[in-house]
Symmetry: C2
Subunit: 396 residues, 2 copies
Amino acid sequence: MSAILRKSAKSSEILGAIKSVVGDEPANLHEPSFEGNELEYLKECIESTFVSSSGKYVDKFEDELAAFTSAKFAISVVNGTAALHLSLILSGVKPGDEVLVPALSFVATANAVAYCGATPHFVDSNYETLGLDANRLREYLRVETKMVNGYCVNKKTQRIIRAVVPMHTFGHPVDIDGVLTLASDFNLQLIEDAAESLGSLYRNRHTGTFGSFGVLSFNGNKTITTGGGGAILTNNEEFATKAKHMSTTARLKHNWEFKHDEIGFNYRMPNLNAALGCAQMEKLPEKLQAKKRLFHKYSEAFSGIKGVKIFVEPQGSNSNYWLQTLILSEDNLELRDEILEVTNAQKIMTRPIWTPLSELRPYFSSPSMKLDVVKSLEKRLISLPSSPSLSLEKHA
Amino acid sequence: MSAILRKSAKSSEILGAIKSVVGDEPANLHEPSFEGNELEYLKECIESTFVSSSGKYVDKFEDELAAFTSAKFAISVVNGTAALHLSLILSGVKPGDEVLVPALSFVATANAVAYCGATPHFVDSNYETLGLDANRLREYLRVETKMVNGYCVNKKTQRIIRAVVPMHTFGHPVDIDGVLTLASDFNLQLIEDAAESLGSLYRNRHTGTFGSFGVLSFNGNKTITTGGGGAILTNNEEFATKAKHMSTTARLKHNWEFKHDEIGFNYRMPNLNAALGCAQMEKLPEKLQAKKRLFHKYSEAFSGIKGVKIFVEPQGSNSNYWLQTLILSEDNLELRDEILEVTNAQKIMTRPIWTPLSELRPYFSSPSMKLDVVKSLEKRLISLPSSPSLSLEKHA
């Protein structure tokens, strides 16, 4: 029997609820929207010829990101992966180290650790935030590690666990208080993967500004886009200077000499992409409002349907609701694939959460705590069409 | 005495010759120019919302690069450094290996080797090409290496020398025949760093298409620009497929699953940048003509001045003359800094060649052959304003 024929009364009902929000037309998971000065700023780049490594938009975009997030410094780079990589290097992650990362994340979180020659060490999630469970991680570290010369050492592998990289899943802030205490108690560098959480607050403070570094992404599927892009947030001036230096081939300032004092990277964001970012920043408050409206519409549409609900931001936080998420109750797991099939067959794009990183071939042998919550969430989460335009324009 | 006061009759004469070509206005070393469909294509990206990881311009740009260079495949990426990094990985360069690179190159050539956990091994230049001297490298390898199980092993370090990365300096093709024979005799993978040589031919074949991989750059200072960008050229279908896969986080194709079978990278070029590239490609033949005209103008302007000459493309090659270069005779070395000072003081940008990579802090301890020619060239070369617009428009 084909996927469509198998559709049950329940999945019909769910498809109906989604359509009552997004309409009957095909809907992507997340589409960027450009209602502002995008074209004007791009035109200015072309006319001035500043499209590449210099130009006013890079500085402007960085200033605006810092102002919006209240981070002291923002450094724009080619993408979120590059931002993570640099943040890990500057946090002192070295070959042979381990870094604690959520098993439930986009692969970049683990890859950036691998680029440093270090090994990701996977952490289970919490039902309330979908992100790293600080309490259970604390219990795990208490048993599995020992402090040696002030460093947290994995008893099994004898490797130093240098850092922890919580990720704010779908924009929902993790338990940052819990993570901060944990990082302090076990001497771990804290890097927040805020790739999905531009606009999300934890206790009224912007995500990505609690650790040594925060990382943003401006890929096409994010709340604002620069085509490809990312940024590093930090409150530490020395880190900021160093991040800029390392993102621009570690070249020493001179009118004509080319001297580089470290193995740097070609990670700076081109002015053309930053121009797009500046225009997008101007519309960020509207986009965030649209996303919250969309959450309310979905919540209402699903309020009468048993066994499924729309995921709600954790207590104490104000989420950007980047990706709207349906969560199935334990007795409705068989619905997941059915819903994916009936929606995608009608070009209404939905998606399960990522395959846990611990189950990807390159990370089969990486250390991991027990991932009971991740395994449960994997069967129960479905991401729904979340473009701000769905509640900005025709659907408003 | 200040730099300006020290100016000799000779440096005045040289400044005059440069001004006779570029005019009295400030001139950068290389500025991009946008006389084509750039704005139209950017507009199409904004209107279609395809600015990021999907969209028609990426495929179009890759097809056009392949057609122009006659490479079977072109894979666009975020920059030339990323293209080098992926090419080295796919050539089998592993941690602990050594890779032969010219000491006279932009730092990215060595950095990409370091990203692989390998060590750059520096090679001297040839006066005729400015690039890697295949004959002297052969003599050096004969003495300093031995073949072990079919691999070229450095006798001193006991490390495998896995690959050789000649770079076509300022667009001038190296002695590719010499390098090809060398690569074959010593079982070295050949990756051509053609970052500067889009449009340059060696025996009527495009640079970057002789080795396993060729690498292009579209930074703002290159013959064509995508803001930031690069590409991998290859004639090997398996390499091409693998390069695309590795540049897009090694994600396996599926409608909704996120599975990745390797530690991949976020190196793909955004559609927005590729759109710029497509418009630039349409004007590439004109830009190349303009550059050649500029070379002739400089040659003429300097024809009567003793002790300096404009660098001429090597025999058997057709150079893109990306960067016009003045070469001082051995008895005029004291002129170099004086010329740099008087020209830059008048905002006519000139530059010496890069500091040899062997003299940069991160590479102090890297192995190296004797660099007599590099040391001589370092004192004798000055790059001149080379924008195609200098002979395209008002100066035509």
